[in-house]
């Protein structure tokens, strides 16, 4: 659970969970199919995507306008030339780190792909919650990250022990979020 300094849930926060000790091979989750970073209404959807190292990500454009997706982040530099639909093959993210996405035509479009080597990961829902079932017994390191979180990264790490009982980790942010978590509705100025 991730809540802001007023106790309200914070959505679109990456939660990455890594066992502190080596796990038996059977505990490793199965390889997932390619993830999807969609483009709708001139926004990336989701705005924050978390994937494991080596995962391919598809970038379908379901907008009525063309996009040119790019990133110059150290974790992954790539460009997808002008397109609609899904003409490009998935992009493989093979290094951990944060990848900031942009569109060379629409500067207001910003998206994030958090590439992690954690065993378990996901993003919080609207109420700030993220849950996992059937986590093997053991000790885990939990890291959270969000584009709007202003707290120091060192304060966003916890260690928990999991056994047969449900375990909960609560991150309460001490600093206000850096920007509104929700994007504004697009101007209704008919500026096409």
């Amino acid at each position: 659970m991730v809540v802001d300094h007023d106790g309200r849930g914070v959505a679109e926060v990456v939660v990455a969970i890594t066992p502190t000790a080596a796990m038996p091979a059977t505990a490793h989750p199965a390889v997932v199919k390619p993830a999807v970073m969609d483009q709708r209404n001139r926004e990336f959807a989701p705005r924050v995507l978390v994937v494991g190292v080596g995962t391919g990500v598809e970038f379908p454009n379901n907008d009525s306008v063309s996009h040119q997706v790019y990133s110059f982040s150290a974790a992954k530099r790539f460009q997808l030339p002008l397109y609609k639909g899904q003409p490009h093959p998935p992009v493989t993210f093979d290094r951990p780190g944060l990848v900031v996405l942009g569109c060379n035509i629409h500067d207001s479009m910003v998206g994030y792909i958090y590439v992690t080597d954690a065993l378990y990961f996901g993003t919080t829902s609207a109420d700030g919650a993220f849950s996992l079932k059937d986590l093997p017994t053991g000790e885990y390191r939990v890291v959270v990250w969000g584009p709007y979180i202003a707290d120091a990264p060192a304060s966003l790490v916890r260690t928990i022990h999991v056994d047969n009982q449900p375990a909960t980790v609560r991150f309460q942010l001490s600093l206000a979020l850096r920007a509104r978590p929700e994007p504004r509705p697009r101007r209704r100025d008919w500026d096409y």
Partner: protein, 404 residues
């Protein structure tokens, strides 16, 4: 500038032919029909010294504007754009160009994104005229400041922009530095002198003119390169600041055999757009500058005009509606020169606009504006220098976009 015209025509032909087989060609179009009621002095567009677009001899049904804005994305980073207009008001050409330029945007390889425009285009100064072809998204008629920019200025040259993309550094905003070098804008200042500031949605065309007899604005007379430099800062998605310094670097002593003169026109524009809460927008812009014509050897007879205008605008939108109110203030002052009476103008105006969008393609806008101004040269037309003009417009607009 006949060679420019030939170049543009050749470009258009090549562009149309090459684009036929592409999947990267789009056309935005707009037809804007008006019902107008106006009172006050004859508009300067019709030979008077009224500062609005329409007057009592030009009421009823009018063509507001019809334009086509084709765009061809020639490569992934390069597009060719044009705006082709018709106003139906007897301009020199029934159909003309207001913009024609190449836009180059390389993919960013770092936090600085470069962009270049080459051709003829509007300078990035208005926070109102955000639509294609200098269209105003808040009302029909732009402010006095942006009316004037649309009338007398077009960048015919090159503009370079370096934009710092803050998202890559965790900052939700951008900072841009803009610089441009251009020519063919030496007459800029002649309309401001002969009429003062106006409030119209009638920008000039590249090959046309404004007024009776028409004033032209896009000539190179002194063979000197003008420039502008600007800064813009976007903070999150609710604050945008813009500053721009313009100097056409004209030689006020230069003139053509036909009587055309180069004006040295300089101004500074500062603008802010704030959206403190959803659906509310507030814009303010301040523009201050001067213009000079006549050789330096004329001494006190050399014409020198200072000018200033500012406006504040508030706008709220909900569902398919937008309500806007704006207050304009403007003045010009003949510091030196031999005009008698002097071309000193003072004025202010209120604009109220209500737009309603119905469906994807249709929009209606009701606008009423009232402007009071004093301009002594009106005496030469047998009219009082002080005039109060008002104008009611109902616009019905149809817009479309086609893409191949």
């Amino acid at each position: 500038m006949p060679w420019v015209r030939r170049l543009l025509l050749v470009g258009l032909v090549l562009w149309t032919g090459a684009a036929a087989a592409q999947d990267r060609f789009s056309v935005n179009g707009d037809v804007d029909l008006r019902w107008v009621q106006a009172s006050g002095e004859t508009s300067f567009l019709n030979g008077g010294l009224g500062i609005l677009r329409f007057d009592s001899d030009h009421e009823g049904f009018e063509l507001g504007r019809a334009f086509l804005a084709p765009s061809w994305r020639a490569t992934d980073i390069m597009s060719v754009n044009a705006v082709i207009d018709a106003y139906g008001d007897g301009d020199r050409n029934a159909v003309d160009l207001s913009e024609f330029y190449l836009d180059v945007r390389p993919f960013p390889t770092g936090p600085i994104r470069w962009r270049a425009r080459v051709g003829a285009f509007f300078m990035p100064v208005s926070l109102e005229n955000r639509g294609i072809g200098w269209t105003n998204v808040y009302s029909i008629t732009p402010s006095a400041a942006n009316t004037w920019i649309g009338e007398e200025f077009r960048t015919i040259g090159t503009e370079l922009e370096a934009r710092w993309l803050g998202a890559s550094s965790g900052y939700f905003g951008e900072v841009a530095v803009i610089a441009a070098a251009y020519g063919w804008n030496d007459p800029a200042g002649v309309l401001l002198t002969s009429r003062g500031f106006g409030l119209t949605d009638r920008p000039s065309e590249l090959f046309g003119g404004l007024g009776r007899p028409p004033l032209d604005f896009y000539h190179e007379i002194d063979r000197k390169v003008g420039y502008y430099g600007g800064l813009s800062w976007t903070h999150h998605d609710w604050l945008e600041l813009r500053a721009l310094r313009y100097d056409n670097h004209g030689d006020p002593g230069a003139a053509t055999e036909a009587g055309g003169s180069a004006w040295r026109t300089r101004f500074t524009s500062l603008g802010a757009s704030v959206e403190p809460i959803e659906h509310w927008t507030f814009i303010a812009q301040y523009l201050d500058g001067d213009t000079t014509v006549g050789a330096d050897s004329l001494g006190p007879q050399q014409f020198y005009l200072r000018f200033h205008t500012d406006f504040v605008l508030g706008s709220v939108d909900w569902a398919h509606e937008r309500l806007t109110v704006r207050y304009d203030d403007f003045d010009t002052h003949e510091v030196r020169g031999s005009y008698a009476p002097p071309v000193d103008q003072t004025g202010h105006g209120w604009t109220f606009a209500w737009s309603h969008r119905f469906g994807e393609h249709w929009q209606s806008v009701v606008e009423w504006l009232r402007v009071a101004s004093v301009f002594p040269p009106r005496e030469e037309l047998g009219e009082s220098p002080a005039q109060v003009e008002s104008q009611f417009q109902l616009a019905v607009r149809y817009r479309f976009k086609l893409a191949w």
